[in-house]
Amino acid sequence: MEFIYSFSKILLATCIDVLPIILLIAGFQLLVLRQPIPHLSRLIVGGVYVVIGLALFLAGLEKALFPLGKIMAAQLSDPVFIYGTEAIVTVSDWKAYGWVYLFAAMIGFATTIAEPSLIAVAYKASEVSAGTISQWGLRITVAIGVAFGISLGTFRIITGTPLYLYIFVGYMIVIVQTIFAPKSIIPLAYDSGGVTTSTVTVPLVAALGLGLAATVPGRNPALDGFGLIAFASLCPIITVMGYAQLMHWFTKRKIKLMEKSNAL
């Protein structure tokens, strides 16, 4: 009973989320384009699937993953677990947080693989590139980026170093990579930064950040708790371009080797 109540609440919220889009599309079709919508029934069925699917997905997350993720983030950043003593620690030691870095990286990777927005963009990219960009290749590359980003972000929270320095260095790397990366991958790489952080990743990662900032001695949740999402949107850009450069380089080398053997 309680579940039906919470599910209908989520379903309603998803409908409200979709409503402006429906109004916009209907308004444009009727007033500006003045054309009937092709395959209307198929569209409506698809739209209903999207709304119900998303609501089920969110309800499941709320029931299973979020409480679990929050408990685990709290347990892992608990000083008793990290320092092994009940004594109050006043100065944080960044080397003691090994499991936190590993957890951050692994949960970042795992949630990115399950992210619906990324699934959608990977689907489009593979369709548009006629399969050259494989869905799983893109998703795993992006997930590695998020894993590294969130791990680095937790390191920043624990050491308390300023956020903008990391972001600045990240931008520099992106700019240098843009000069050398194959031109066709650049827009997709930039986009993959924005799609990684939505429904699944944000709540879990935000819980981890705020939990850490609250338990690490000398950190203020207001100032240090934010910023993990920024890392998670920056690092995938770097890994996607890096992957493309690597593939480009391998193909070039292969061609060169083949030319050499042909010449002989």
């Binding site: 989320d17 309800a59 692994m106 795992a110 956020l163």
Partner: protein, 244 residues
């Protein structure tokens, strides 16, 4: 036939979730060595997630992708740049302003700002601050999609615009109040919702494939990149005005 399709979708969704299950199991059993609380609830929730994800992907293929591309083609055929830009702005603005993640982040940011003594602790000023934050993010996402569509029409190279945006972000960071920077950087990531992304991706690709001389891969992507860059600049600008 239908059953095999459903089974395939369910299997794909399960594969998507497998990494999360493995990570949680590994940490619970090996590192933390504590039993999972409420095992039954968790398994039930995981089943819902699998079913939801497979329905969502099926719905994308049937509904959101086709409508996004059809509209992009129809608007491009109509040949009116004005209506195309209106549509782009409205899509960005309307989908962001109601975004639950943004509402949550904005109210949290308001509480932090008031506890830091930056704004009055009264409820009215809290709501006003959160509303202003939401409006500046929604406006910036609308503008971002508009600029992105403009870029696709004109064929401007994306990287100049993005690098220009990065430079602006860095400049704003220098002058913006310290308290807003963390939220501003995060605001870029949370704006693009699960329903907006497929629609925007379909719009970009559809537009690029219906304009002569544009390639869907090079020109079709990039809209989301703008939508996650511009909010950072606008939120810092908002902080600059409010905290001045």
């Amino acid at each position: 036939m239908i059953i095999s399709v459903i089974l395939k979708k369910l299997k794909n969704a399960f594969t998507d979730l497998l990494p999360i299950i493995l990570v949680i199991a590994f940490f619970q059993i090996i590192v933390l060595r504590q039993p999972l609380p409420q095992m039954g609830e968790v398994i039930f929730g995981a089943l819902l997630v699998v079913a939801g994800l497979s329905l969502f992907v099926q719905g994308l293929e049937m509904g959101l992708f086709p409508i996004g591309e059809t509209m992009a083609h129809a608007l491009a055929r109509k040949g009116s740049v004005f209506w195309l830009l209106v549509f782009a702005f409205a899509l960005g603005f309307s989908t962001t302003v109601a975004e639950p993640a943004l509402i949550a982040v904005a109210s949290e940011a308001a509480e932090i700002a008031s506890s830091g003594g930056l704004i009055d602790p009264g409820k009215a000023s809290l709501d006003q601050y959160a509303f202003g934050l939401r409006m500046s993010v929604a406006f910036s996402v609308g503008l971002a999609i508009l600029i992105g569509v403009m870029r696709i029409i004109r064929g401007w190279p994306l990287h100049y615009l993005i690098i220009g945006g990065y430079v602006l972000v860095m400049l704003m960071t220098v002058i913006a109040p310290k308290e807003i920077i963390g939220i501003a950087y995060d605001a870029g990531g949370v704006t693009t919702s699960t329903i907006t992304v497929p629609l925007v991706a379909a719009l970009g690709v559809g537009l690029a494939s219906s304009i002569r001389g544009r390639s869907p891969l090079v020109d079709g992507f990039g809209l989301i990149a703008f939508a996650s860059l511009l909010p950072m600049i606008f939120v810092m600008g908002y902080g600059f005005i409010v905290f001045g």
